[in-house]
């Protein structure tokens, strides 16, 4: 059987390529400034606001949106939902790139990035949640890399290496789920040490649970959203099986997402009830909280349910983008907007344009890497020389 090779003449200077090139060049310049002149020259971080968007967006949002890897592989290999098999490789790839870029972003944010391995090599801060997050992210990035390698090995023609890694699929999936459960929740638990800094509507002893449950929604929504984009821009790279199963993946995941969102909505209400924070709902922050919980949790829950029930892919795909935006807003709220809410306006954090530039740079690198890998490796189609695993 012949390897399905599609060669299309593509214009080199498309609008996307021009914008991406500008962002990459500006990002490289800012990178130079960041690593020669330090954080003060490129950020508005301070003692009051030591975590900016490189943590609030690049790390908190990045880790949540990369959850599609463990959600999809668990659905397929642990729960036996083999109809979702074609979604596993794209989800693993997105997860791997997401975590790799989280670690890259950390190099910008940490004052002395060359000390990132210190918690493992020099001094283990085993009582710190950050140590647990660091250990889990490092291990899970390794797991995602190994889970992604079969596609690369198939591309390179390394059959024995590919078959060896494929035999580890179940072990890697279990390991990935355990590590994700630990660090997705621990990222929320990080804020438990700051009960006076985080607004009572967002602060809750259940923060760890909120982060973990919402990461499942983020993972499911991202797989649907990314699948819709792949369908639009890489349709020619998809084989018949991927095209046929794509609708079933979107509808199945929409059903699961609506169910998880319903549970998440109830958990958020329980959080408010346990803190007896109902009176805060009548404030400005209360209106913003209601917008998040009703507008970006309850409504997506309802529309996912309608989309799955009516088998309406347009509703499902639109709602997936909506839910992804909801996760971004939630992580921004916990990490930035509702954090340090009591500070006067002049002390509040607003990112420097270079911080935004680096975040755009990192997202752009991710998109370019995704494009390169999907174009060259069997992600959206099964390699004809290998049995699906």
């Amino acid at each position: 059987m012949q390897f399905p090779k599609v060669t299309l003449e593509r214009p080199r200077w498309t609008p996307f390529n021009i914008v991406a090139a500008i962002i990459v060049v500006v990002g490289l310049v800012i990178t130079g400034i960041r690593f020669t002149q330090g954080l003060a020259a490129t950020t508005r971080l301070s003692d009051y606001n030591p975590w900016g968007i490189w943590i609030g967006f690049d790390l908190l949002v990045g880790v949540a949106l990369a959850a599609g890897g463990y959600v999809t592989s668990a659905a397929c290999y642990l729960f036996g939902l083999k109809r979702f098999h074609t979604a596993v490789r794209p989800a693993i790839l997105t997860g791997f790139l997401g975590y790799a870029l989280v670690v890259l972003a950390l190099h910008y944010d940490v004052g002395r990035p060359w000390r990132l391995p210190y918690p493992f090599l020099v001094q283990q801060g085993t009582t710190s949640l950050l140590f647990e997050v660091a250990a889990c992210v490092a291990l899970y990035l390794t797991v995602l890399f190994i889970e992604w390698t079969p596609a690369a090995f198939e591309w390179l023609g390394l059959k024995r290496a590919r078959n060896l890694v494929v035999r580890l699929t179940l072990v890697l999936t279990i390991f990935g789920v355990v590590l994700s459960t630990l660090h997705q929740s621990s990222l929320g638990a990080l804020f438990l040490i700051a009960p006076s800094k985080l607004h009572p509507l967002w602060y809750s002893p259940y923060l760890a649970l909120f982060f973990f449950v919402s990461s499942i929604v983020a993972g499911l929504s991202m797989v649907i959203f990314e699948g819709a984009l792949a369908h639009r821009y890489f349709h020619h790279k998809m084989d018949e099986t991927h095209r046929r199963e794509a609708d079933g993946v979107a509808l199945g995941f929409a059903k699961a997402a609506s169910w998880v969102l319903a549970g998440y909505f109830v958990l958020k209400l329980v959080g408010v009830a346990q803190a007896d924070a109902w009176h805060h709902l009548a404030s400005g922050y209360g209106a913003w909280f209601l917008l998040e919980v009703v507008g970006f949790v309850l409504l997506p829950c309802f529309f996912f349910a309608v989309g799955a029930r009516e088998k309406n892919l347009r509703i499902v795909r639109f709602t997936a983008a909506w839910a992804v935006l909801g996760i971004v807003i939630n992580r921004f709220n916990v990490g930035l907007i509702a954090f340090n809410y009591h500070l006067p306006a002049e002390e509040r954090y607003f990112p420097h344009w270079m911080e935004i530039g680096i975040s755009l740079f990192i997202v752009t690198i991710g998109i370019l890497a995704y494009k390169f890998i999907v174009r060259h490796m069997p992600i959206l189609y099964a390699h004809p020389d290998y049995e699906p695993h």
């Binding site: 036996g80 009830a273 007896d276 009176h279």
Partner: protein, 64 residues
């Protein structure tokens, strides 16, 4: 917050009571939500799971 809350006991009684009512209401609501979500599924499968002989109802077992 209620004006009648003066002690930790009263606070716990209030917050736990509301939480229990919320949970009970949510559990009842979930039943109706699940029915809304899945009542149009032809084979009522769980999240679209593969079932042995799922497409050939009544014949039993997987067919290859």
């Amino acid at each position: 917050m209620g004006e009648g809350v003066h002690s930790l006991h009263e606070f716990m009684l209030r917050t736990e009571s509301i939480t229990y009512i919320l949970i009970a209401a949510a559990l009842c609501g979930f039943v109706f939500f699940w029915r809304f979500l899945s009542e149009r599924d032809e084979d009522r499968d769980y999240l679209g799971a593969d079932r042995p002989g799922g497409e050939e109802e009544g014949q039993g077992g997987a067919h290859h």
